[in-house]
C-alpha cells in the first residue's frame, strides 16, 4: 500500500487557488453550509494527524477518536469551569493531547504494527466509558454545553463589508478552523519534506535499514505519535467549538473509523490527501443519503435500506474497495492518471514533430 509515488514538485499555483477557494467559500454558501464545511476541515486536520502517523511513519492507530475526545474535553473544561477564552484553550488542548500521545507512543514502541492497532482500537472502544467516570469534571453522560462562539468585531466588520450580511457564529467557526487547518497543513508539509519526515519514511520502509543508517528509531516513532496526537487534539478542540457541546457519545469508535476512512480515501503519505479525505469522509454519507432516494432505477426497498443503514455501509464498502483497487487513494489516482496523460501527450507531440518517442533500443 505504501509504495512510493514519485514526489512531485509543489504546485504553488494550485495551493494558492485552493487557499483562495476556502477563504471565499463562506461568502457564496449559507451559514449552515459553512458549519458543515468547518466540520469537514476539522476532520481534515485530524486525518492529517493520522496521516503523519500511518502514512509517513507506518504505525497504525485506530484510536484517534480518543485523542480528539481528549482535546475537546480539555478545551471544554478549561472554558466551562475556568472561564478561559475558548480560542486560547485550543493550543493548550493540542499541546496536552500531544504530550499524552507522546507518552502513549513510548509503550507503543514495543508493539508490532498489529498489536498497536489492537491496543488503540481497544482504547477507542473504552474511551466513552472512561470519560463518563469522573462525572464532576466531564459532566458524565450529559457532557458539557458551551455558549456558541461570538465572532469578534473586526471579523464581523470585515465579513459584512465583503458580503453585506452579518457574520454568524458558524461562519466565524469556519474561519477559525480554516486558520488552524492552513497552519497545520503548512507545518505538516514542512515536516515531511525535511529531516524528520525523511527519517520517518525511512523507518516505515525498513526499520533495520533506517537504524543502520543512524536514524533514531524510538525518538522519531514517539515523535510521530506525539505530533499526530497534537493534530487530533486541536481537531477535537475545534470540534467542541463548532458544536458548542461535548459528550462521551460524540466520540464513539466509529469516529476513529471515519478518520481512517478519510485518510485512506484521500491517499496516505500525501499532503493534499487528508484535505480531500476529510471532505469525502464528511460529505459522502450525507450526500449519498440524499442522492440514493432520488434515483428511480434503484428499487425503493434497497434505497430505504441504504438510507437507514447510515454512514456505516458506505464507509465499510469504501474502505474495502479503495484498499483493493486504489491503495493510494484519490491523490494516487490523480497522480498516476496525470502522469499517464502527460506521457501520452508528449508521445503525440513527438510523433507530430516527426520524431519517434524514445524507446529502449534507440537510447541504448
Amino acid at each position: 500500500m505504501l509504495q512510493r509515488l514519485r514526489t512531485t514538485p509543489p504546485r504553488y499555483g494550485l495551493v494558492a487557488v485552493a487557499v483562495l477557494f476556502f477563504i471565499g467559500l463562506p461568502t457564496v454558501i449559507d451559514s449552515f453550509q459553512a458549519g458543515e464545511w468547518a466540520q469537514a476541515l476539522i476532520l481534515a486536520i485530524a486525518i492529517m494527524g493520522l496521516n503523519i502517523l500511518v502514512g509517513y511513519s507506518g504505525q497504525l492507530s485506530l484510536g484517534h477518536g480518543a485523542f480528539m475526545a481528549l482535546g475537546a474535553y480539555t478545551s471544554a473544561i478549561l472554558a466551562h469551569r475556568y472561564k478561559m477564552d475558548y480560542l486560547v484553550t485550543i493550543p493548550i488542548a493540542g499541546l496536552l493531547t500531544g504530550v499524552v500521545g507522546f507518552l502513549f507512543g513510548v509503550p507503543a514502541l514495543r508493539l508490532s504494527a498489529l498489536y498497536l492497532a489492537l491496543a488503540t482500537f481497544a482504547l477507542a472502544v473504552v474511551a466513552p466509558s472512561l470519560i463518563k467516570r469522573p462525572a464532576e469534571l466531564t459532566g458524565g453522560v450529559q457532557g458539557i454545553s458551551l455558549p456558541p462562539p461570538i465572532p469578534p468585531q473586526f471579523a464581523k466588520d470585515a465579513f459584512t463589508g465583503l458580503t453585506g450580511v452579518p457574520m454568524t457564529s458558524d461562519q466565524w467557526v469556519y474561519y477559525v478552523t480554516l486558520a488552524f487547518a492552513l497552519l497545520l497543513f503548512w507545518l505538516a508539509w514542512n515536516l515531511v519534506r525535511h529531516r524528520s519526515g525523511r527519517a520517518m519514511r525511512a523507518i516505515r520502509d525498513g526499520e533495520v535499514a533506517a537504524a543502520a543508517s543512524g536514524v533514531n528509531i524510538a525518538g522519531y516513532k514517539t515523535l510521530a505519535f506525539g505530533i499526530s496526537a497534537l493534530y487530533a487534539g486541536i481537531a477535537g478542540s475545534l470540534f467542541g467549538l463548532g458544536t458548542s457541546f461535548v459528550s462521551p457519545d460524540t466520540f464513539p469508535v466509529s469516529l476513529s473509523i471515519q478518520l481512517l476512512v478519510g485518510a485512506v480515501i484521500g491517499g496516505l503519505a500525501s499532503i493534499p490527501g487528508p484535505l480531500i479525505g476529510g471532505i469525502f469522509a464528511y460529505f459522502l454519507p450525507i450526500e449519498s443519503n440524499q442522492w440514493v432516494p432520488t434515483q428511480t432505477w434503484i428499487p425503493s426497498q434497497i434505497a430505504s435500506t441504504v438510507v437507514k443503514a447510515g454512514p456505516a455501509v458506505s464507509y465499510g464498502a469504501v474502505l474495502i474497495l479503495i484498499m483493493i483497487f486504489a491503495p493510494n487513494g484519490i491523490v494516487g489516482l490523480i497522480t498516476t492518471g496525470y502522469t499517464r496523460l502527460r506521457r501520452r501527450l508528449r508521445g503525440a507531440a513527438d510523433r507530430e514533430a516527426g520524431q519517434m518517442p524514445p524507446d529502449a533500443q534507440t537510447i541504448s
Partner: protein
C-alpha cells in the same frame, strides 16, 4: 466465600464465550498473521441468522447447527471475495480491510434488523442449582458445556484429522505445503470458515445474556482481544485459558473493586491488553519469536 465462588463460576461462563471468539481470532492469526477485526461482527450476523430461524419456528437445536454451517460458508465466501484479492498485500492493508468489513456488516445488520435490542432465546433456564454451596444457573452451565464441546471439536479437528494437519501445514509452511500439493489459498478459506463458525457460537451464547443488537459484539470483541493477547495470540490453548482468566478477572473486578463497578469492566480488558503487550508480548503460551533481518 459463597459469593466469591458464584462470581468465579459466572466468570468462567463468560470466559467460555470470550474463549470461543478468541479462538476464532487465533485460527485466522495462525492462517495468515492477521487479527480479524471483523470477527465480532461476523458472529453478530450469524446470531441474527439464528434469531431469524428460531423466530420462524425452527427448533433451537436444529437452528444452531444450521447457523454454524451458514457461518462456515459465509466465512469462506468472505475470504474468497474480500481477502483473497489482497492476500499478499501489506499487513496494514489487510487490517484496514477487516475493519471495513466490520463497519459494513454492522451497518447492514443495522439496516436490515434495526438497532432495537431483542431478547434471544436460550434453551437453558435461568434457574439455579446448588453446587458446593454456590448457586449456579443452568444457563451458565449450558454456556460452559456448549463452548467446551465446540472447543473440543476444534481441537480434535486440528490435531487428529488429515484436514487439520493440512490446515496447520498450510499455515506454518505455505511454500513447502504448496510443493506437496496442498491448495494453500483454499486452506486459508477453510480457516476463515472455521473461525467464522467458532465465532458464531460465542455470538449465539452471549445474545441471551446481553440482548441481540448490531453493536452487541463491540465490547465482546475487546474481551476476546484481551483473551487472545493474554494467551499468546498464536496458541489455541492459550486463547481458551486466556478467555477463562479474562472472564473471571473482569467479573471479580466488577464485583469487588468499587471504582471498577459495572461500567469500567471494559477498561480492565484494555489494561490487560496493554499490560500483557508491554510486559510479556508473547502472552502466556506464545513462543518468543526471533525475527531475521
Amino acid at each position: 466465600m459463597q459469593e466469591l465462588l458464584q462470581q468465579v463460576v459466572s466468570g468462567i461462563a463468560q470466559g467460555a464465550i470470550f474463549a470461543s471468539l478468541a479462538l476464532a481470532l487465533v485460527l485466522i492469526y495462525n492462517a495468515m498473521g492477521l487479527v480479524n477485526f471483523a470477527q465480532g461482527e461476523m458472529a453478530m450476523v450469524a446470531t441474527f441468522i439464528a434469531f431469524t430461524l428460531i423466530s420462524r419456528g425452527v427448533d433451537y437445536w436444529i437452528a444452531l447447527p444450521v447457523t454454524l454451517v451458514i457461518a462456515f460458508a459465509g466465512g469462506i465466501a468472505i475470504q474468497r471475495i474480500v481477502i483473497h484479492p489482497v492476500e499478499r498485500a501489506p499487513l496494514l492493508t489487510l487490517v484496514i480491510i477487516t475493519l471495513g468489513l466490520a463497519t459494513l456488516l454492522n451497518g447492514l445488520a443495522g439496516a436490515l434488523f434495526g438497532y432495537v435490542p431483542r431478547s434471544f432465546p436460550s434453551p437453558f433456564s435461568v434457574q439455579t442449582v446448588d453446587i458446593l454451596g454456590a448457586f449456579v444457573s443452568y444457563r451458565d452451565l449450558g454456556v460452559i458445556a456448549v463452548s467446551g464441546a465446540v472447543l473440543l471439536a476444534i481441537y480434535l479437528l486440528l490435531q487428529r484429522t488429515t484436514v487439520g494437519l493440512t490446515l496447520r501445514a498450510a499455515a506454518h509452511h505455505p511454500e513447502a505445503s504448496r510443493l506437496l500439493g496442498v491448495h494453500v489459498s483454499w486452506m486459508l478459506a477453510l480457516g476463515w470458515g472455521l473461525a467464522s463458525a467458532v465465532g458464531a457460537v460465542s455470538g449465539i451464547m452471549v445474545a441471551p445474556i446481553i440482548l441481540l443488537e448490531p453493536n452487541m459484539m463491540q465490547t465482546i470483541i475487546i474481551y476476546a482481544f484481551a483473551a487472545a493477547v493474554l494467551g499468546g495470540i498464536e496458541s489455541p490453548l492459550g486463547a481458551v485459558i486466556g478467555g477463562l482468566i479474562v472472564g473471571v478477572t473482569v467479573n471479580l473486578a466488577g464485583a469487588y473493586l468499587p471504582f471498577v463497578g459495572g461500567d469500567l469492566q471494559l477498561a480492565v480488558a484494555l489494561a490487560i491488553i496493554i499490560g500483557v503487550l508491554v510486559l510479556k508480548p508473547n502472552g502466556l503460551f506464545g513462543r518468543p519469536t526471533v525475527r531475521r533481518v
